[in-house]
Symmetry: C2
């Protein structure tokens, strides 16, 4: 195993920068714990320094959300990216960068749940539902519902703001800041604009296959896989070739990640996903799965899909009908095949270039995890 060319660290600071490629396998559970420790300390401090005591339930909700598991794909990939570019260990600045990405993700989840009217997140009430309890108006009233949405909007804004503060707290040097900050901005802009493109397409019942692929590219491929890898890599001073490999691996894997999500959103087990199985269908989420089904459907199937998908009152019987059509048209199998071919393409990208062995092992493992999960 040879070190990746150009993997010299951006920082020359003692202690943190890598000396060479890492040899030990990367322990995802340990990375997760490291990032969670940073987040816990940061949020404890936020509670302590609150500008007004009445805002405490807001931050407590964020603490619960951020402490309630989650798969932490993005922070883990950030650390893997660092190792891919020759970094070693998990220095303070890396864990803070990873925690910044995860904090932005919390903001995005809180705001997404408002837009999607999702009542549940990770098996708990979503922010705009939970925060209704802080309102003195009767539960179920318009005032209470509106209050919950407003409070969750503010909480998402706080989390978005704090994602920057976490990066800053990592005490990156100016070269590291110059390398990471514009890229963190890009990650956020791409994710947000992906969310808008999805909103534009929601409930449109189209067999246009390009739009879901475009949405997945921004909201999943770039946001979930490629950019977190890039961020860790540029922190370690990666050269463009390493970033290209991250892209060649990240874009197909991110597409596969989202396709698995879409399948789980319709066929998944609620107990495992923590998300009601009807949400995606009721919302009319513009997935590739549905677009393929539309394009393959017979006229009567197409008509039934149009009637059922996007119906906010869709019941279990209706959802079962949609599942039957998705299976009967072969759309489900086509998506499963796409997931596998994307995964293979991602893994093949790792063979074209010699990255440090620990990073390659971690990237292979991650490719399994994101495509074959049940939650």
């Amino acid at each position: 195993m040879t070190p990746a060319p150009g993997s010299a660290p951006a920082s020359g600071r003692a202690g943190s920068p890598p000396a060479g490629p890492s040899a030990d396998p990367l322990d995802f559970a340990e990375i997760r714990r490291g990032v969670e420790d940073v987040l816990r300390c940061f949020l404890d401090e936020r509670v302590r320094d609150l500008p007004h005591p009445k805002a405490r339930p807001l931050v407590e909700h964020l603490r619960t959300l951020m402490g309630s598991g989650g798969k932490r794909f993005r922070p883990i990939l950030c650390v893997v990216g660092w190792h891919a570019a020759g970094g070693s260990g998990t220095p303070r600045e890396l864990l803070h960068l990873a925690a910044a990405i995860e904090t932005f993700h919390s903001a995005a989840m809180i705001h997404d749940d408002i837009i999607d009217r999702s009542a549940t997140r990770r098996g708990h009430p979503s922010a705009h539902h939970a925060l209704r309890a802080q309102c003195t108006a009767p539960p179920g009233s318009d005032t209470s519902t509106w209050f919950g949405a407003g409070a969750a909007l503010v909480l998402g804004d706080l989390a978005l703001s704090w994602s920057d503060q976490l990066l800053y707290r990592g005490r990156l040097d100016i070269a590291q800041l110059r390398a990471t900050h514009p890229l963190l901005d890009t990650l956020r802009s791409e994710a947000l604009i992906g969310c808008y493109i999805e909103l534009l397409a929601t409930g449109r019942h189209t067999d246009d296959l390009d739009t879901p692929v475009e949405i997945n590219r921004l909201k999943s491929a770039k946001y979930t896989i490629e950019r977190p890898l890039h961020l860790g890599a540029v922190l370690a001073g990666a050269d463009p070739a390493v970033l290209d490999t991250c892209t060649a691996y990240g874009i197909p894997l991110g597409q596969a990640f989202q396709l698995r999500d879409d399948i789980l959103g319709v066929f998944g087990d609620t107990a495992a996903t923590g998300k009601p199985a009807l949400d995606d269908l009721r919302e009319g989420k513009p997935t590739l799965l549905l677009a393929i089904a539309q394009s393959r459907a017979a006229p009567d199937q197409r008509e039934r899909l149009r009637r059922l998908v996007g119906d906010p009152l869709l019941d279990d019987a209706g959802a079962a009908t949609v599942r039957e059509i998705l299976t009967a048209t072969g759309a489900r199998q086509e998506v499963e095949d796409l997931i596998e071919s994307h995964r293979l393409r991602a893994v093949a990208a790792l063979d074209e270039r010699t990255l440090p062995g620990a990073a390659v092992t971690a990237l292979r493992q991650m490719a399994e995890t994101v495509t074959r999960r049940d939650a």
Copy 2:
């Protein structure tokens, strides 16, 4: 005129740092133009580098909002703070810091208008109204309304994200970043938490005078006056005594600023404010003006206020009745007296310390402007 002690710049970079106190009077119009140039270039670039062409109407709306005037109190005060701490000129990093504050303000306005259900901002449709035009669902339908709110939510998130990117683009050195970044974070957290405290109190019909004062402290005094001054001042390496003067001036002036806003919200001329005169009353905004009226009102007046304020269908006749009660109880005059006493207290703070003359002149002028405006 002697230079403020401790006004040495944080930066030793050639070109930008101050040599001594500024002598020429500060030209607010010129500051405004400088900040607007930075914003225009930044937004042009955002449009050019959009991750997806369909997102263009989002950024175009932001460009229209940010280009449509606005009083630019916060960026101007940021520049005044720089001069108060002995800075000179308007170097690149200062204008970018000021533009970062203004960009956050745009995010806050866009999200505030969603929460307040305001249809208008600066005489134009608010973001969540304007962006409905991008939805293919029939205008006036639930889908179109929900789409507008979701699109505005995303746009506010983009603007919030970009406020950091503007700071970064100013090419501050590491000492300047260490001085300003945590304070920008504080400004944002205080403003957002103030917004939440206001949401908690909205429509409560209380004669509690403390809550509006607390809301005004966070949402206006700190956010609009004190923190922008502090940000400019710390960029120039201000010592704690300069920051204390900014606080002693900023907190009372900010209270006065908000009280003027509350009066304009009820008694103002829509043509000048760009905001329908019924919005604050229909929303039941928890102002000190209304709390004082509640505390002074006779039982029948109190009953009428409870019935009318917060009624989303309030008409002109109802608003006229509220205005009569606010005047008859003496609440309006009491608020006018408070504005004047706060203004005097702010200006008096300037006499207790020798700040550079140009800054003092600007601060006196600003005290007039924010308290005696009609828009």
